[in-house]
């Protein structure tokens, strides 16, 4: 399978703080990659650079061979890359259905009827079809996040980025969101998931990246990373998160 995301020598500075340090990364089409690491390690910055929510300072990112940069190319990239945020970021003044329909109508120029059909199918898929006419504030956090996933899927992206999708949820709602993501991983969409859910990473990821200090410290299959990490920093991190 071809490479869908390619990062070469990507640096990102916030003022004098270096958030990303020479990131080289290739992600294959259909691959599910989980990014783990301590907070402040650059995980979120990494995926935010892929869709240019953060301007990277140096290096190059290609999404499906299109360079990620301001201008005409960015439109192409953003059509192909969906993102799910920690804080859901649903549009509060629109119904759930309208949230999912908006971008296909505006960006893909779908007819409202076609967009609604697609939106309803997706809401069934994430188990929110009965709440289609409600507003986001009437839903639980877990439901809102599932709507956000449906909204991202409605653009039929080639790549889905997840920025700590369960971190803002009450513990009893984490499972329902992870279930949806697990099902999604089996459909062949490329996923890059920044997460603190080690169980999910171990079970669903094709590859796990461990980041620290703005760099990718270690990468491998879940078995390699969780069962026999090579790097001392990886061991220390896993020890801290798995035995608390």
């Amino acid at each position: 399978m071809g490479t869908i995301i390619s990062m070469r020598g990507v640096d990102k500075y916030f003022g004098r703080f270096q958030a990303l340090n020479g990131i080289d990364l290739d992600i294959a089409e259909g691959e599910v990659v989980c990014v783990i690491g301590p907070s402040g390690s650059g995980k979120s910055t990494l995926i935010r650079c892929i869709t240019l929510l953060e301007n990277f300072t140096a290096g190059e990112i290609l999404v499906d061979t299109v360079p990620v940069r301001e201008g005409r190319e960015l439109e192409l990239v953003r059509r192909e890359v969906g993102m799910v945020f920690q804080s859901f970021n649903l549009f509060p003044h629109m119904t759930v259905l309208r949230n999912v329909m908006l971008a296909p109508i505006r960006v893909r120029r779908l007819s409202p009827a076609k967009a609604e059909e697609r939106a309803r199918d997706l809401l069934i898929r994430v188990g929110i079809d009965e709440q289609a006419q409600k507003y986001p504030s009437q839903l639980s956090g877990g439901q809102q996040q599932r709507v956000a996933i449906a909204r991202a899927l409605a653009m039929e992206p080639k790549v889905l980025l997840f920025d700590e999708p369960t971190s803002a949820l009450d513990p009893e709602m984490v499972g329902e969101v992870l279930d949806v993501m697990r099902a999604l991983a089996r459909t062949g969409v490329t996923m890059v998931v920044v997460t603190h859910e080690m169980g999910f990473a171990r079970q669903v990821a094709d590859r796990v990246l461990f980041m620290d200090g703005g760099a990718i410290v270690e990468t491998g299959t879940p078995q390699q990373i969780f069962d026999s990490p090579r790097e001392e920093r990886t061991r220390a991190f896993l020890k801290a998160v798995l035995h608390h």
Partner: protein
């Protein structure tokens, strides 16, 4: 003459009512036009100030500060009496509309700016990541939410513009106040002035109540 006959003289009131009516029509035309143009101008300036290139931001900022500093009456008199010296001759209606619009636009711009800045960053990011263009993001996502927030202060501003239309009477504008003073002179009785005051209150009181109601409901419904 008794107090009632002086201030609330029914005969004088009925006689001068047609004159007051023509004044009221002018006042409402002037008010609505200035409010409408001020809203458009204010939105444009707010967007310039928030999202424009550096030069535009500076221009927007200077405009906002300048027209919030200058007294409306002074601006009006400058436009009507000073501009003719450089060949710009505006009618009293045009002068009043221009002055009211410029000042209202500056206040409206600050109101819109505050409303847009109150929208969480995540809303902008979600819209961008979905591939919406900048105008689509503003029209579909940001402005509907921002406008909802700023309706109470905008209504307040509308009340101020409506009240300030009375200043136009100093540039010979036949508005409600001007017609009332004319009528008072003709009838040699202050009833038309009292009538005009009552009409201003009648028009604006409901708007004032509306603002209070917005403020109450916003306190309850904080989501």
């Amino acid at each position: 003459m008794g107090l009632i006959e002086t201030f609330f003289n029914a005969k004088v009131f009925v006689e001068t009512l047609p004159l007051l009516w023509t004044g009221l029509v002018v006042t409402i035309e002037l008010g609505l036009l200035s409010i409408g143009l001020g809203l458009l101008l204010g939105l444009a300036v707010a967007l310039m100030r928030l999202f424009g290139i550096a030069a535009l931001r500076i221009v927007a900022r200077i405009y906002i500060d300048l027209f919030r500093s200058i007294p409306l009456l002074v601006l009006l008199i400058v436009i009507y009496y000073a501009l003719p010296f450089i060949g710009i001759r505006l009618s009293s209606f045009a002068s009043a509309t221009l002055a009211l619009t410029l000042v209202s636009g500056a206040y409206t711009a600050e109101i819109f700016r505050a409303g847009i800045e109150a929208i969480p960053k995540g809303q902008f990011e979600a819209a961008k990541v979905l591939g919406l263009s900048w105008p689509q993001m503003m029209v579909d996502v940001i402005l509907p939410q921002a406008v909802k927030i700023v309706i109470p202060p905008l209504t307040n501003n509308c009340i101020n513009v409506m009240k300030d239309t009375a200043l136009a009477s100093v540039v010979a504008m036949p508005d409600l106040l001007k017609q009332a003073t004319q009528a008072q002179a003709l009838a040699a009785n202050p009833t038309p002035l009292i009538g005009a005051a009552a009409i201003y209150i009648l028009i604006l009181w409901p708007l004032v109540l509306l603002v209070s109601r917005f403020e109450r409901t916003l306190k309850v419904d904080t989501r």
